[in-house]
Amino acid sequence: MNASEEARLLSRVALQDAGAFRKLYELTSPRLFAIAVTMLGNRAQAEDLLQDVYVKIWYAADRFDGSRGEAMAWMVSIVRNRAIDQMRSRKQTVDEDVLSAEEAPPLSEDNQRLQECLDTLESQQRQSIFAAFFQGLSHSEIAARFAEPVGTIKSRVRRGLMSLKGCLES
């Protein structure tokens, strides 16, 4: 696996290289901040979350194992997991101005394969997966949003994920 710029910087951060940490922040914080804002729907909360995320990255950088996946995917999972933890008792207000669950802008060239496979999903499966990923909606929140039974949403999401996996592995 080719070491991406993020992975190279992360390995230096693991050795407490402050300059590398700063570069990594400049390179990746706009993406991670956007994820936090989109999921929490609140900029102030997103700013606090972003702080926690990068502090965690600073102390946990040595735990990133480049053979197990991309550095950016690792960092994305940290911010998403934290945002989800914060959502536990949040009252969900559906915000239509935030990235629409119906469709998403096309992905970059790096993610061409993922884009192709997303396009093969049934549109309802894709919408449910987007609602979960981009807005951190739970099964019941997605069910409320699309006025469908929770069980339907659960199996829809499952089938969508497995189709995605099958397509990506083929």
Partner: protein, 223 residues
């Protein structure tokens, strides 16, 4: 719930990464991630599959104050604690990290073993190897095991000047870690006074210098 079924594990991992696994089920799965390498592997794969979705979210630059706060929390002003001056005296006689052969001249093409951490009865705990071409330092746990649940071993370099520099956490239970040294760090290592191992809280020292007891110490031998 029988976590031995690979399909079930895969489904849980997918839902964990997507975010639809919630509540107690999520908490249970997170605990499992600590114990089950197959669960960890499944999660890593799903993170790689789905991570690219984040690409679709238009970037937003965070305000400058966020970075200032991060800096404060990760790089507080360093003061050298008095215990550090006593490092030379603090050696635990029975346990020594020995770094051998930081040679000038043509670096080897492969990993060269540079340190052996042994118990008093010469049972090897860790082997530290360095590839001077790639700058990769590998630490392999031979028989080192975790001491306490919430503690880890951290490896430190004592540079010629300044505070100790962390070289990362040391693996246990047969694990291996690899760190890539920048040329600057490699240079520091060549001129360093020694290595040491301390006990730290989970995640390593929160301050950037050792906070726990130094249990192993090494003079650096110039050959």
């Amino acid at each position: 719930m029988n976590y031995n079924q690979p399909e079930l594990l895969d489904r849980l991992a997918a839902e964990y990464v997507l975010g639809t696994l919630r509540g107690r089920a999520r908490a249970r799965f997170e605990r499992m991630l600590l114990d089950l390498p197959e669960a960890r592997a499944a999660v890593d794969e799903w993170q790689s599959r789905l991570g690219g979705l984040a690409d679709a979210i238009p970037e937003q630059t965070p305000p400058a104050r966020v970075w200032r706060e991060i800096e404060k929390r990760t790089q507080p002003a360093r003061t050298v604690p008095s215990w550090w001056r006593g490092w030379a005296l603090a050696a635990s006689a029975a346990l020594v990290v020995t770094v051998v052969a930081l040679l000038p001249g043509a670096p080897p093409l492969e990993d060269r073993e540079v340190a052996f951490v042994n118990e008093a009865n010469a049972t090897p705990l860790w082997v530290v190897s360095m590839n001077f071409n790639t700058g990769e330092l590998s630490t392999r746990a031979v028989s080192a095991e975790a001491r306490e649940i919430d503690k880890v071993y951290e490896l430190w370099m004592l540079p010629a000047e300044g505070a100790p520099r962390s070289l990362g956490l040391m693996p246990v239970s047969g694990g291996k870690t690899v760190q890539t040294f920048s040329p600057a760090l490699l240079e520091l290592l060549r001129n360093a006074k020694g290595l040491a191992v301390s006990i730290e809280p989970k995640g390593g020292s929160p301050t950037g210098v050792p906070t726990g007891p130094v249990v192993y110490q090494a003079p650096l031998l110039d050959l």
